[in-house]
Symmetry: D2
Subunit: 343 residues, 4 copies
Amino acid sequence: MELGMIGLGRMGTNMVLRLQKAGHHCVVYDTNQETVQGLAKEGAVGATSLEDFAKKLKKPRAVWMMVPAAAVDTTLKTILPLLEPGDILIDGGNSYYHDDIRRAADLKPKGIHYVDVGTSGGVWGSERGYCLMIGGDDAVVRGLEPIFSALAPGIEEAPRTPGREKVGGTAEHGYLHCGPSGAGHFVKMIHNGIEYGMMASYAEGLNILHRANVGKQKSTVDAETTPLRDPEHYAYDLNLADITEVWRRGSVIASWLLDLAATSLLDNPDLAKFAGRVSDSGEGRWTIKAAIDESVPAPVLSAALYERFSSRGEDDFADKLLSALRFQFGGHKEKTAPQKEAA
Amino acid sequence: MELGMIGLGRMGTNMVLRLQKAGHHCVVYDTNQETVQGLAKEGAVGATSLEDFAKKLKKPRAVWMMVPAAAVDTTLKTILPLLEPGDILIDGGNSYYHDDIRRAADLKPKGIHYVDVGTSGGVWGSERGYCLMIGGDDAVVRGLEPIFSALAPGIEEAPRTPGREKVGGTAEHGYLHCGPSGAGHFVKMIHNGIEYGMMASYAEGLNILHRANVGKQKSTVDAETTPLRDPEHYAYDLNLADITEVWRRGSVIASWLLDLAATSLLDNPDLAKFAGRVSDSGEGRWTIKAAIDESVPAPVLSAALYERFSSRGEDDFADKLLSALRFQFGGHKEKTAPQKEAA
Amino acid sequence: MELGMIGLGRMGTNMVLRLQKAGHHCVVYDTNQETVQGLAKEGAVGATSLEDFAKKLKKPRAVWMMVPAAAVDTTLKTILPLLEPGDILIDGGNSYYHDDIRRAADLKPKGIHYVDVGTSGGVWGSERGYCLMIGGDDAVVRGLEPIFSALAPGIEEAPRTPGREKVGGTAEHGYLHCGPSGAGHFVKMIHNGIEYGMMASYAEGLNILHRANVGKQKSTVDAETTPLRDPEHYAYDLNLADITEVWRRGSVIASWLLDLAATSLLDNPDLAKFAGRVSDSGEGRWTIKAAIDESVPAPVLSAALYERFSSRGEDDFADKLLSALRFQFGGHKEKTAPQKEAA
Amino acid sequence: MELGMIGLGRMGTNMVLRLQKAGHHCVVYDTNQETVQGLAKEGAVGATSLEDFAKKLKKPRAVWMMVPAAAVDTTLKTILPLLEPGDILIDGGNSYYHDDIRRAADLKPKGIHYVDVGTSGGVWGSERGYCLMIGGDDAVVRGLEPIFSALAPGIEEAPRTPGREKVGGTAEHGYLHCGPSGAGHFVKMIHNGIEYGMMASYAEGLNILHRANVGKQKSTVDAETTPLRDPEHYAYDLNLADITEVWRRGSVIASWLLDLAATSLLDNPDLAKFAGRVSDSGEGRWTIKAAIDESVPAPVLSAALYERFSSRGEDDFADKLLSALRFQFGGHKEKTAPQKEAA
């Protein structure tokens, strides 16, 4: 079928290529005309403006926006006057699901269908396919199945879940209509929340392995340092590239993220390429807010989020207050930083 | 080569079968003679007593103990008088690595080699192979490679890590000599600590999805209940079996544990088979103790451990104190439990 | 000066009594006319309806609402038509500060001033005085100082902070104009967030003391139970009433909450009066949402909130999933609950 | 009565002064003879060596060691040959209670009594008195009551707990015999664990208040930064010195630590004197280890401990791994640090 794609960053471009490879027809637009022309060479129909884009699409139009979350409302406002009742607007980015609910309600009276699609797969999606979590009206979503099916990894990408043969459904093909408007991004949001927790689990565990030789280091002796009681228990120099590699086969914690960790640590064993300032992009935060609204305890996912905040120094003032209190009640002076860990 | 196996539970038995399939020769012993005879029918040499077991093994002997952590020291004490200098004693269970360090030191003057092997794979190991994390002396571990290699999943079990071809090593075959005595169980311990964190990440995330319809429920209106400000944001009835299934392909959080979650939720969508009392078997605790000794922050892994404690009611007294304080300062009366969630 | 009070629950009633004792004049209203008549006997002017209430107040009116957060908007809607430009509406309850910002903006064009007051003190306020955190316009707040000053505990309630004599201000008198609309409830919200953290700190610590005799208990020996390695380290039968009492004098953790804990534990050493289902009333949740919006790590305050959720069984589904996964990968069967702790 | 004091740091010196003021007689020793002579001028009997110290003390001797935890065993070894059966050795420092249990058992056959005393009060103890948590044999502890009573703050230091008049005991005088050897330091350890939790509660809460004006700051717009949805909710410039001051009177979170926070923030509103590297001195760690051994969930106290680790950069490697993973799956580049917060 035909799909219009607005936003030809790495994600949008790769998705167009994957769709065309599957025999679909794409009309593409981006403010950057070079990428438009690039894709035109690969068989897509390039548009020079949104007006041109709208004109070139067959009606009813299916328009997929693959733009930053912050740009969705602006894009939507610009394209809206060019659309007609029956057209479908798809947000494939990382919108907050509250916005999906609002947008769908706003567009309904105008006869425009709104579909939210949480898309996982990152830079690997063009190769592995994209995991798609979809929200919107039944009939509209059903009509887009050829597109979703082409973007998704397909059933052969993983061994079949026992019993799934009796149930069927699209989930095992890698795309799923999760529920009404917002449901797609809601499920994607929780997906990312879980991702934060898993990443932090590996990061903390590997940090413990990384420091398993502290017993061999000369420890400071002063009133502000807790001495290690049994240094002989921490005399291991461990090879983290090898350890993450060995876990990839047969262990309980094998995962795609572990595959990436093994690659990173093989390439850069001390991770010195990185400073350790970890961004967070919204979904982790929204996950915790949803947990709180639902009264669901989420200590692990919260701790994972806060580690990212702390990595960016957001705990500075709190830490200073702790030092101030220790000085007040015990006269404790702060220790200066030791020679930096040779990263 | 030849290996003696003591302890023919599910793990020990499966390992013997896997070794024999690979052409190795096993002498087996268990206090339960039925399982001994069962394996004898499968080609193993059965022993009627530890004396018989020691006699039947070629020297220098390689003896693998696959017994509960609490039984290792007793087993070791009983077999020790039957061993001779040059023999190898392998602990393949879940020992605390402190015990490995002690045992290796105790056995060294007697000329007995001690090797600790952390073994991951659970009930699936016979099929997938076992991920082996090994501690002990170089030469001794090297001599056992045929055994490790046969038990491990093998290189073809996962796609090759980019760059690994230049490095080689046994890690990508699924077994790794991690370091001196205790290193195997140390790495296995952290493996399990990470496992706790990953499991909790999925559990918390899925709980948030599970409760995504709270906005549709009639909420209590009283001073002790926080009203949900925007119930329309929590009106999703989500199918968790489908969601875990769709994440298995193309998503960032695909993993073996997710495969198992998809299986569980397909089979038993409301998990009513389970009461939710979650045991913990030591490694999670030891992981946190190691983190603390090393001054490594581990909030995620700790929270995961504590969730298990709480699931068994270990927070009861603390919670009562909170209620007591609320009563003291605000006259707050405890609310009684609502009708139990239809599990 | 004169103040009108709507809402004569325990808080409202006590505040009226305290104001009158300080020589202020109160007009009071509640849907429950009995409490109105009760206060009338104590010197207040009772009103039979909101109309009557508005009529009896001198202009410009100062009206204090002391009603549940959920009832503020309804109360406000009912009283609004009876008010005139220049009147002041004070919300002394536990409103979400977002609502304060909205209400102040709504009332401004009507010439009605809105003041938000976070009030701490609970059932003890009539005796100790109330700690008041105030948001609103400067001139309006200043005009209400006689009221705030009478409600607050007063400077003699605590020893003077060194250096405060050079700074002065109302803070040391127990009331503070924190900032524009919402600032009062914002500060009160964080106050309660901190309260959750402190309460949980005591509760966790006391739970560890409570269980300091686990080494004397017969422990289960099975694969699902982690054995205690050094039971001789946990052979203490501690008297928690005495311990909380001793901490009240000279220790670093002395506090008003500790005073209450000592009272509770003296009266009811095993806290058997309580079931341990701990409610939360909104401020703790809003505190975490604010932390997330500001990128401030708040792992301690979050954990305290989640403990309350868990105390009410909100982790059930998550725990069941953990049990399901353990069954899947290791064949682990759940253990049934032991005989309940004799509480 | 007479007491020998070894270790004349700030704590030891102040305790001697307080004891002498109460009419007790002190023999004092320190490797620094200047402090010995200083106290001699205040009425103590100075000793030039441990031999001299032992000689000058009446038998049976009562010797109080007030030395760093790491120095206790050395001190004990040196003094031991000079002691005789019936003498009492008191450790008033911050020993791990495991060491108390070991030492008491070692000394028993020699007829030397060992008493462990957890001492809280910090630099303020000379004025406020010391809160004493005591472990050891009944008769021995009872014999030392005049000393404990003189060091403790005394009953008038806090209002009486309702009902305490019927129970009595020493707790309300500020000292308590908690149980057998180690019980004193066990209770002190948990005391400090709670202290960490309370300090972190204030620190996190105040950090949220500190950042309550983020909505007024120009926020970065890029894919790596989560935009603040409602900046108008974070437009407060709050005075933390005033806020901590107002909470000191009438609020639920009044405490001695809050008094200190108010002092710190008045003196140094932005806490620029401090770098925020927060030491931890053992008790917090041991508290968590005890919680784990007892299966008691302690997420709040753990998070408080980990914040201190993180403040010293111990999360660096973990954070780098998070950045490495984000780069792997999403091509995310790390953002550089913004201009440092003007502290």
